[in-house]
Amino acid sequence: MDVLLNSLEIFTRLDVWIALLVGSIGGVIIGAIPGVGPAVAIAILLPATYSLDPIVGITVLIGIYGASMYGGSIPAILINTPGTPVNALTTYDGYSMTQQGRARRALTLAYWSSFFGGIFSVICLILMTGFIAQIAPLFGSRDIFMAAVLGLVLVIVSHRGESLMAGLLVFLGIFIATIGMESIRYSTRFTFGQGWLRSGIDLITALLGLFAMSQAFVLLLGKDEKMVMPNLKGERKREGFFDLWKYKLQALIASAFGVIMGIIPGVGEFLAQFFSYNVANAMSKKPERFGKGAPEGIIASEAANNAVPAAAMIPLLALGIPGEALTAMMLSVFYVHSIVPGPNLFVQHADFVYGLYASLLVVNVLIMIFLALATRQLLRIIQIPQRFLGLSILGLSFVGVYSLRNSMVDCMICAGFGVFGYILKRLNLPIVPIILGIVLGNIMEQKFRAGLARVEGFTDFINRPISFTIFVMIVIILVVNFYVWWRAYRQPAEYN
């Protein structure tokens, strides 16, 4: 009870409320502007949050993460352009509703569905805390190592159609994480005699280059597009809420998918949406309406993707394993403040954990209030010229990378990652695997070396119940995916 009261005490602080407002309002605005997205914003803001209290810094970042998806639904519904990639599915039914003159209803439905998903996942997170706190300390070095391997395997197999490139980028990320001086024997690795490589490549530098600078280049080298906004006058806001009430079962299922997919490292919003959309379609009495303005389609997409952020905190907080790029970025804030996410977090910093949960709840409420008051004003923000946005992101990238240690070399490395990220984007290849490779590669090597103290051969890594269970999961996932690939590979030949 004391822990709970201590955690609620954070709401007496002005800096926490400012963080909640900045995170929720800033996140909605960032999400509403096509071409920015939470990854760019979080990468830029990350170094600025290092000087803040950990709960304040994390609240800003998680606020942006969650709120951006609310904001991303606005351009998805109004102009058929998702504000963030995870709002892509919302365009199917959202934009169709706009074309039918039901834009306001679609927006309200998206907001309420997002709110439902967000609150549902925070409640799940709170209910699971006791279980997590009990099970997390059972994870030793070898178990966390195997969990990180599972995360990487899931990252690779979940990039269906791009698994080879995802695998390549994961290993490139793991390699990048090994550059510099290693911490056991203090020998240098792959520095090529360059002094500036001895300290390795900073994660933030890579993040800013791959996400922010590459996006700046994409925008600067593109063209400004004229956007025509639909009129939102004359529609009742309440209908969207009634739609959600009518399809509450679909909302519940979509949110449950969001929570499950959020917990599993490397999976995230896209699969959650995909499953929930298909289930909603199968449950519908009028499945032919899907893609042509079905309210259940918007519910499935928005409830699922907004249920992910809180759930994605579970592997991060319990095991210190980020499941996707945004939680990987947040991990660095924990480390800067000497709060090590993992099995001991729930014992040593329980008030911090509960404070974070409470912040997540408040963020969702603040977002809804902001959206109720400011949707019309947000329509103007969506129309910011793309190239101006690009030059602004490039300028802001400077703050992020230069403020780390005032190093010009860091800026050059960041620019190099920016060009690499730009090439990946031009080739329609994923960026997230390389980031998870860097973060999880680092964790894996640490846990692998820590585990070596108690093992003699590789089989000793899987002789514990948890690590063995995870190992079996990895084998099953690989076998199933190889079987699916083999069938797809054989099919054209049989057809011919």
């Binding site: 290993f171 490139l172 290693e182 024997r185 792959f190 400077f398 230069y402 995916n481």
Partner: protein, 175 residues
């Protein structure tokens, strides 16, 4: 497990990645240390070698898949070259970015940022007074937000030292 359609630049990218992995593979003995008497799994060389082996495997598999697509879809060399040229286009903006980075320790964050935003607005093709006013406003907001309020660590510029001492202190701390 791989993309089924060919995209211009896939071949060049695959070749670059195979060459990179070969280069890294050959650099392992030179760039990592081997400690005698230490088990393989405990060697500092083990982890980067494992990463490079994985990288090489996927690079070869990816190159093979791309090559199959190239042969199937009769991809043209011209498209490939055009794509390579497109990859070089951001370098112009990299140069502007680095010029900005070099100017901050000289002009100070405020003046360098104002100059960057105004000149980049011009380079991006905007000519209206309204856009320049917005550029100046955005630059000021960025500096005040990050340097004055959030106090991010950005060193002072040499120009600030030429200001009267009271002004210099204010500029060094807040702008």
């Amino acid at each position: 497990m791989n993309r089924s359609q060919y995209h211009s630049g896939d071949l060049a990218f695959a070749i670059i990645l195979v060459l990179l992995s070969c280069f890294l593979m050959l650099s392992i003995p030179e760039e990592t240390k081997w400690f005698n008497g230490l088990a393989l799994l405990k060697q500092p060389r083990f982890w980067p070698s494992m990463a490079i082996v994985g990288l090489s495997f996927f690079a070869l598999a990816y190159a093979t898949a791309v090559w199959r697509r190239v042969r199937r879809e009769q991809a043209s060399i011209r498209d490939e070259v055009e794509e390579l040229i497109a990859w070089a286009r951001p370098l112009e903006y990299v140069a502007y970015f680095l010029a900005y980075v070099f100017m901050v320790p000289v002009m100070g964050y405020l003046f360098a940022t104002l100059t960057y935003f105004v000149l980049m607005t011009f380079r991006a093709g905007y000519r209206s007074k309204q856009m320049y006013a917005i550029a100046v406003l955005v630059a000021l907001v960025v500096v005040v937000l990050f340097k004055s309020i959030l106090q991010v660590k950005i060193g002072p510029g040499m120009w600030y030292e030429m200001l009267p001492s009271d002004w210099a202190n204010f500029f060094i701390v807040y702008l």
